[in-house]
């Protein structure tokens, strides 16, 4: 009898909730809002029909909003600058906000302070799903110093996106590293896991160079290479890193604080890369590869060792090299060990530091519509729709887990653009505090071979997490910062570093770095270091800080 009562109550509750759902407003009139994905090449992730795809129509029914998407094929900072300077803005924008002191984040902060961005603070309580994005998934220092930058004086301009939930399972492991062509490693009888130091990596490159190996086009392979614009050559240099850190600052033996650019490890890294370049071990075109050039090299297995992140490797290779030459599969080399003996892997805080953000133009006539859309897409219903599509049409709920229909899963594994053109996965970019992986873990039997390959590549480099405040944030209040930035803004340390890779001699390379250091010092760098030291010493709880 008791069980029967419980059953009846449940039936009533279900009936009630179904009634609520049935009564949900379905819009018949729609407002088009314009959106800019301010990510270089971000349009590659768009469906062919950005306003008429299946998911867009479903969102329109639920919110009355149709998002007209546009992307860029130029530098993010450049586009942000031209957009704000011209005053011609879409209704809302998604852009990188790695910090509020440099690059894109600096431009966004300037625009916010100068009144170009809409302050959502007064209306935030009306949008609980957006409000949650400020409570979950962002690191405390990022929240305090960047998202709620003190210069904003309590106003809220940026909405963090693509952040994880507080469950570590939801943190994306990009699994950066060096990946080697398995057929070449086998031919050399090298176990890739044993390549755990810079010296061994160098020796392997020399062996490859002398081995006469060929790419899929029958031409000589290059021992080491990257994708576009040198991304990510750092993978070959990670063995020089001195352990897990959250900032670019280090405390020296004498107690002074400097940034890593001023330390010996920078010289060591530059000289090592110069050695690789000058001995023909590194693809000399790597630093100026276009995206097309990089992918062409990947598609034919041109470089025996590539460095970037694992999802990029799998996504690019699955439709190219792995179809034509499956024997040329790439496997993880290493991971390398740093100078303190720890392996090179991703270091994360609790919550993300630096993230993509959405912001709404102050000039937009559709602020309310944008917020309604963002609030919906961040609801449980919106999250399911964004990642899995429409229940019954694209997926079924089986044991509480959204399960993609088998026939669709097979078709999508074969051609990933099919899923994208339906709009599935596209709107995940508007979501924060991801809880997909912890809430709906994909059962092994539903994983594609590419999912499993990615899992294997990630397993070697588990994320290391710290609940600390980065020392890097201590520089924020430096009173001379604006002047320092003004004077040092024309110094391009990365360009100088790359120039040093191609220097005629080691001495020339060192001189390039030392000259660049001097330029920073002339601009007032020492003042920044001294200020960080002062703040570090005055910090009430040093255990909370991490270099």
């Amino acid at each position: 009898m008791r069980k029967l009562s419980l059953f009846l109550v449940l039936v009533m509750l279900l009936g009630f909730s179904a009634g609520v759902v049935a009564e949900q407003k379905e819009y018949t009139e729609f407002t088009e809002v314009t959106f800019l994905s301010c990510w270089n090449g971000g349009g590659g992730g768009f469906p062919q029909d950005v306003m008429g795809n299946v998911i867009a129509k479903e969102i329109a029914k639920k919110t009355g909003v149709i998002v007209n998407m546009e992307s860029i094929v130029t530098s993010e900072t450049e586009r942000l600058n031209t957009m704000f300077a011209s005053g011609v803005m879409p209704d809302f924008v998604n852009a990188p906000y790695w910090s509020s002191t440099g690059g894109e984040g600096f431009v966004i902060r300037k625009a916010a302070v100068e009144g170009m961005i809409y302050d959502i603070a007064p209306v935030l309580d009306q949008y609980p799903n957006i409000k949650r994005l400020f409570e979950v998934g962002i690191a405390k220092d990022y929240k305090e110093f960047d998202v709620f930058n003190p210069e904003y004086e309590g106003k809220i301009y940026v909405i963090p996106q693509q952040t994880p939930s507080n469950d570590p399972a939801d943190i994306t492991n990009w699994a950066y590293g060096v990946f080697g062509r398995k057929d070449i490693l086998d031919a050399l009888n090298v176990d890739p896991k044993t390549i755990d130091s810079t010296e061994k990596l160098y020796d392997l490159a020399v062996q490859i160079k002398n081995g006469g190996f060929k790419d899929a086009a029958g031409k000589d392979v290059i021992p080491m290479g990257t994708s576009h614009n040198g991304w990510n050559y750092w993978g070959f240099l990670d063995g020089f890193n001195d352990g897990y850190h959250l900032s670019g600052y280090r405390m020296q033996e004498d107690g002074s604080i400097v940034s890593t650019f001023f330390m010996q490890q920078t010289i060591d890294q530059v000289l090592f890369m110069r050695k690789l370049v000058s001995e023909g071990l590194m693809d000399v075109e790597a630093f100026s590869n276009t995206d097309t050039m990089g992918k062409e090299k990947m598609a034919i297995g041109k470089c025996a060792l590539f460095s970037f992140h694992a999802p990029y490797l799998v996504d690019t290779m699955r439709d190219t090299l792995y179809k034509t030459n499956p024997e040329m599969e790439y496997v993880r080399v290493g991971p390398l060990k740093m100078t303190d003996g720890n392996i090179v892997t991703a270091v994360e805080k609790v919550g993300r530091t630096g993230s993509p953000v959405n912001f709404i133009a102050e000039s937009s006539p559709h602020k309310e519509e944008v917020l309604r859309f963002l609030d919906f897409i961040n609801s449980d219903e919106g999250r399911l729709l964004a990642r899995y599509g429409i229940e019954g049409e694209h997926y079924d709920m089986i044991d509480g887990i959204p399960t993609v229909k088998p026939e669709l899963r097979e078709a999508w594994a074969e051609d990933s653009s099919l899923r994208k053109n339906l709009g599935i996965g596209v709107y995940e970019g508007f979501i924060g505090a991801y809880d997909y992986d912890s809430k709906y873990p994909v059962p092994d039997d539903q994983k594609t071979q590419w999912d499993k390959m990615l899992d294997a590549l990630r397993a070697d480099v588990p994320i290391v997490q710290f609940d600390k405040v980065s020392v890097g944030f201590l520089e924020r209040g430096y009173p001379g910062m604006e002047e320092f930035r003004d004077l040092s803004s024309t110094i391009d340390a990365e360009a100088e570093r790359r120039r040093a890779f191609f220097a005629a001699t080691d001495e020339d390379a060192i001189k390039i770095i030392e000259d660049t250091r001097q330029r920073y010092m002339d601009a007032g760098q020492q003042g920044v270091f001294d200020y960080v030291k002062e703040q570090y010493e005055a910090y009430p709880n040093k255990d909370e800080l991490m270099f």
Binding site: E78, E114, I222, G280, K297, R498, R499, F501
Partner: protein, 317 residues
């Protein structure tokens, strides 16, 4: 005193006011209108933007509303650690292009003028004009492929001749940077540049050649004593204009051909303005750099024009 002017049989009364004359000949002034509108909209109206070089630009205040900061950005540029490198690079590349690239269309025009087979002449002209219509993006993509150290055609050819030859990263070798910049510029522009000289050549009186032939002059002598002097004024004018652009080394080509290893040679004023101005958002600073360049160019063109007027009677004004 009134004075009647006669021009091709028509009388002009200077007593007429300017306005009346303009109204009388309004049809001719109407032809000028499109050019005036074009200049007003695209050249003069945007000029107020140079004010940004003297202001601390704020997005919301715009150019006119932002605070004045005097010559701060000019001082910053003159004190920039890269100042001399950038100015030197700009001058070196421009002068190389001038000395190597300026005579090339003249030589081509002179040679084309000597070709008697009309079909062959037209074919050569067409082929030499074509590169002008290909954008630098395409040209650099082609160069990148041809000169690539990884299976580029040139390196393949070298290795086919000598299997022991190692690949050369032409686009990344500082020693190859200037030759590639200058030669690709000549290849792209020589045909187009020769058009104006060919037009000037048609103005030379054919009787001069006939008279020279009667005097027994050979083709080289005719070229040296009639053809070349006949286009001296054109050469002079174009030289003056070229010198005024001495601080304009050619943005598209150089930006696209920049590599980390050649940056110390290839960073010029134009690329610097793009990187600091548009990419990093230092609009005031980069406008100051642009004004610096424009002022130097103006001084150069006035000076060179003056010298030319006094020495050769060829001048723009």
């Amino acid at each position: 005193m009134t004075k009647a002017l006669t021009l091709k049989g028509r009388d002009y009364d200077t007593k007429m006011s300017l306005g009346a004359r303009m109204w009388k000949y309004r049809a001719f002034y109407f032809f000028l209108l499109p050019a005036i509108i074009w200049y007003a909209i695209f050249c003069y109206y945007p000029m107020y933007g140079v004010l940004i070089a003297f202001k601390n630009f704020k997005f919301n205040l715009g150019i006119l509303g932002s605070d004045w900061v005097g010559l701060r950005y000019f001082r910053n540029f003159l004190g920039d650690p890269y100042f001399w490198t950038i100015v030197k690079n700009t001058l070196v590349i421009s002068l190389l292009k001038l000395f190597c690239g300026f005579p090339a269309p003249i030589i081509l025009a002179l040679f084309l003028n000597e070709v008697r087979n009309v079909r062959y002449k037209k074919l050569v002209q067409t082929l030499s004009y074509l590169p002008h219509f290909v954008s630098w993006v395409v040209v650099v993509a082609l160069l990148t492929k041809l000169l690539s150290p990884n299976n580029g055609a040139i390196n393949e050819l070298r290795q086919a001749i000598n299997p022991n030859a190692s690949s050369v990263f032409y686009l990344g070798e500082p020693g190859w940077f200037y030759p590639i910049i200058v030669l690709s510029d000549i290849w792209k522009n020589v045909g187009w540049g020769s058009i104006i000289y060919l037009a000037a050549l048609t103005a030379i009186d054919p009787e001069q050649y006939e008279a020279a032939e009667l005097d027994g002059a050979n083709r080289w002598q005719k070229m040296g004593h009639i053809t070349l002097p006949g286009i001296y004024p054109t050469i002079g004018i174009l030289m003056i204009l070229s010198l005024s652009g001495i601080l304009n080394a050619g943005f598209d080509q150089i930006y696209l051909l920049q590599k980390p290893s050649t940056l110390h040679l290839s960073e010029v004023l134009d690329t610097y303005v793009l990187k600091r101005g548009l990419q990093q958002g230092h609009y005031s600073y980069s406008t100051a750099v642009g004004i610096f360049r424009s002022v130097i160019s103006m001084v150069l063109i006035v000076t060179v024009n003056g010298i030319s007027r006094r020495t050769s009677e060829v001048s723009l004004w």
